[in-house]
Amino acid sequence: MKVLINTIFSFILLGLASCQVEEVTTTPKAIAEGSKSITTSVKMIRLEGGKYKPFFGTDTSIVQVEPFYIDERPVTNGEFLEFVKAYPEWRRSNVKRIYADSNYLKIWESDTSLPDTISLDAPITQVSWHAAKAYASAVGKRLPLLDEWEFVAMADQNSANARDKKSYSDDIIDLYLIKNRQFNHVKQSPPNYWGIYNMFDLVWEWTDDFNSILITGDSRSGEYGDKNMFCAGGATSATDIMNYAAFMRFSMRAGLKANYTVNNLGFRCAKDYSANKN
């Protein structure tokens, strides 16, 4: 009998002990420290917007781009580093997979440091759409709309709309073909007509609505009745089929998912014109 009691007691103890071990492992994680708003000194360029014809869409789809501000250059490694220092949830080891895949900031040395070979003045890459959006929001901005970005992208060095120039697309394609261009510093090449740098020569860039033409269409017109978006393929087509550079960008965007992180995909921020009025 005594042996039995002893055995049972030891079982109970064991049970309690295992309970305690479990408790230790489920202790709530330390509350994220250091959250604060961050600032950036990047110059923003004001564009008045205007009517523009997207590279893809129905023949008649002329889009009105409202006035907006856009960063003169992509967000840099140094700026994104400040962001993850202030927002621990966006550090490499903390980020949730639903927000960023396993390639997120992979080239970095640690959560808050970069290898010596990577310049702080080079554009940030290996960031997801969610991360880019979080950064933009942290600095009081937003990501540019696809139409805003493409509106800026129509310019070459000398004109606001260079799409009809023969060299326009070819020159961009040449830039797209350069390998490892994401490691170069920002603002080392001449700006475009608007004074905006690095639209093509360093990185591809996230846009807010990379994945959803319907949502931009809707927020613009306030209606959801665009049949073309909801009928099967063939309803819309390229309006500017000769512009292969634009086609590459649209294909790239079509292949992205919001938690993807790509070695040469970064972003810049934008802002509503009204949001900047003082």
């Binding site: 479990e22 639903i98 033409i213 949502i215 959801y224 909801f230 919001a258």
Partner: protein, 190 residues
């Protein structure tokens, strides 16, 4: 004496169970999203409130005359092929991509006219930014490029009880039996 000891043993086991914390949500789960939603009953909720059931999710808008009615019909076909005994472990979720128009009242009205008033039908709307985020999490594309053309995507997604994406069926001819089969499998394996 023996009985008493057994009783103590039982109690200690039970207390152990009680202290077990709920499983941590996987980091790739949709229950990680912090967006706030309203359902057709005007309740405010987060996606993690849907935890514990297998989810069949589609994004639609109630005024749509084109693809959405087909998607809604597909959802009903899937529902019919889910075993009645499994349905209590399933939520059929319709998320509005038109949050301005699709108020909770409108969603309730739509549920009524569409015969989707049973408890397992969940209609949700949020704000535009969080709707966009959710669409992007589902990789729901509003356009897709072939060399010269676009087509839109209609996606029905299945999430397990932890909010992990298990399966997506895309297009307007969804394999209903396949989706329902997966849902039955997931509902059973709990």
């Amino acid at each position: 004496m023996k009985h008493l000891l057994l009783l103590i043993l039982c109690i200690s086991f039970f207390s152990c169970k009680k202290e077990e914390k709920p499983k941590e949500i996987p980091t790739d789960s949709i229950f990680q999203l912090t967006s706030t939603w309203e359902n057709q009953h005007n309740d405010s909720l987060q996606l993690k409130d849907l935890q514990g059931k297998t989810l069949v999710v589609v994004m639609i808008y109630t005024t749509c005359k084109f693809a959405c009615p087909i998607l809604v019909a597909d959802m009903k076909k899937i529902e019919k092929q889910i075993k009645p005994s499994n349905l209590k472990d399933v939520s059929m979720v319709l998320v509005s991509i038109d949050p301005k128009t699709d108020t909770p009242e409108r969603l309730a009205e739509f549920a009524k006219t569409s015969g989707m008033e049973a408890d397992h039908w969940v209609f949700l709307r949020s704000n535009e930014a969080d709707t966009q985020e959710f669409a992007n999490v589902l990789a729901m594309k509003y356009k897709k490029i072939s060399p010269v053309d676009f087509s839109h995507s209609n996606i029905i997604s299945i999430f397990n009880k932890e909010g992990k994406l298990i399966m997506q069926e895309e297009g307007l001819e969804i394999d209903v039996a396949k989706v329902a089969g997966e849902v039955n499998k997931l509902a059973k394996s709990s």
